[in-house]
Amino acid sequence: MQRALTLYNTTIGKKAVMAASGFILLGFTVGHLSGNLKAFAGPTEYNEYARWLRTVPALLWGARIALLFAVLAHIGSAFQLWKRNKDARPSRYQKNVSVATDYAAKTMYFSGPILLFYILFHLAHLTFGGMLFGEGAMFGIEGYAWEVSNPYNNMVRGFQHWPVVIPYVLGVVALGVHLFHGIWSMFQSLGANHPKYNHLRRDLAIGLAALLTLGNLSFPIAVMAGYLEPTNLTFHFPELM
């Protein structure tokens, strides 16, 4: 009897989907950080960049749809594998010692959901325009005036308030931990291995996870240290409306 086996129906296929979607999301986080680092170049640079991102709606929406698809594929395959793996060991060990794995690998099912909630929070905070925290909004913070055409001030003023800083720091740390295992795991799942380069996979995972964690933490630190301050310049960008 012949039977067509589609790639996704296999455990290895699901891991390949997980790795490929993870790679797309990793690419986004790198781009996202490099764009945001323009904050250190000044408010005009930062806001011009934000405006530029929205000048070609087809590209903007193309990227958004691709990211949404990657997130759904990542979560969908993770959930299906989690269920399968749970069923593969119905009776648990009384004593169980881990000899090889690390904290990051063991907590992927925690850092993942934390990241999901963080991303929703982050979008509600900055993309959907002060829906959560802008003065007069649902969890409006007094003194956090929302300026539609001034993403720089929205970011800087946000980090002057603990209710914004705390979830942000938690999210960024969860991202770093998730990537420490995820980046290494991605190579393994896609079969990208070669005896000559294998040791570099862990180095790359550590390097990128550290870069993204420290890079993203630099914003709240710079704001709270007073290095980045709200600007008095006014901007008018219809693209950001």
Binding site: Q2, T11, N96, V97, V99, T101, S185
Partner: protein, 263 residues
């Protein structure tokens, strides 16, 4: 010569569908030069004399190559010593750790039903081999050495994978009860050699399909299997299997046979 009394908490289970539980025994005057299995033999003799049911455990060669003696000792598949099966674990190694209380459990996986106590049915691994872990072309009788040129690094790597004794410690140690390391070793040692090339991509599809059908979990790249493996088989082979499998699924023009029924 050092002797010691040990408290053993042993998993007792009458059959695949029976409910198991731990029972506590004392192994008296355990000699440091006993192997772990000899210590259990000694305890079983005592149980038989007392008219009790001896502890069932699997064993065959007792020289570390058959892969039968499968016990999770205090949370370690095959015990705490690296690259050592339970039969080759000696009580001096256990004494050196200062253990006086030891928990003995069977391999725990949905695909490995408990036959009795510490003995599990590893037929799932046999069915993975049956699904494609062989060469079906006739390769002739023994050839002259070096008649078929194989680069030394390739033959070494193939041999590293071929050292798998099919004990299932990788499944036991895996947080997901995945048989990825076993399947990868079996896929790779044939896939790297000239005789195995013809069926390389069909083989990986068939064996992975059977692995999935048996109800093993997926690989989440923890690396526990590699450390538990008495032969120290590297998880690099899992990456190699993943690559061959994805390639086979994307490029193959025909279907392969359906997996055998899992029991």
């Amino acid at each position: 010569m050092k002797t010691k009394n040990l408290t053993l908490h042993v998993w007792r289970q009458d059959g695949p569908d029976a409910k198991g539980a731990f029972e506590t025994y004392t192994a008296e005057n355990v000699n440091e030069h006993m192997s772990f299995l000899e210590m259990l033999d000694d305890l079983n003799e005592k149980l038989i004399i007392e008219g009790k049911e001896p502890i069932a455990f699997d064993h065959d060669c007792r020289e570390g190559i058959c892969g039968s003696c499968n016990i999770v000792v205090n949370g370690y598949a095959h015990g705490p010593q690296e690259r050592t099966t339970v039969c080759q674990l000696h009580m001096r190694h256990v004494f050196a750790l200062g253990w006086s209380e030891i928990w003995l459990e069977p391999w725990r996986a949905a695909a490995f039903p408990v036959i009795k106590d510490l003995v599990v049915d590893r037929g799932a691994l046999d069915r993975i081999i049956q699904s494609g872990g062989y060469i079906s072309i006739r390769t002739g009788s023994a050839r002259d050495a070096n008649e078929t040129p194989i680069p030394k690094p390739i033959s070494d790597r193939a041999f590293d994978a071929a050292t798998c004794i099919g004990c299932g410690a990788c499944v036991a140690a895996c947080p997901n009860a995945s048989a990825s390391l076993f399947t990868a070793a079996k896929v790779s040692h044939l896939g790297m050699l000239p005789q195995g090339q013809t069926e390389r991509f069909d083989r990986v599809r068939k064996m992975v399909a059977q692995m999935d059908a048996e109800g093993f979990g997926s690989c989440t790249n923890h690396g526990e299997c590699e450390k538990a493996c008495p032969k120290g088989i590297s998880i690099d082979f899992i990456a190699q299997m993943n690559r061959d499998f994805v390639k086979a699924m994307v490029t193959s023009k025909h279907d392969v046979e359906a997996p055998n029924d899992a029991e």
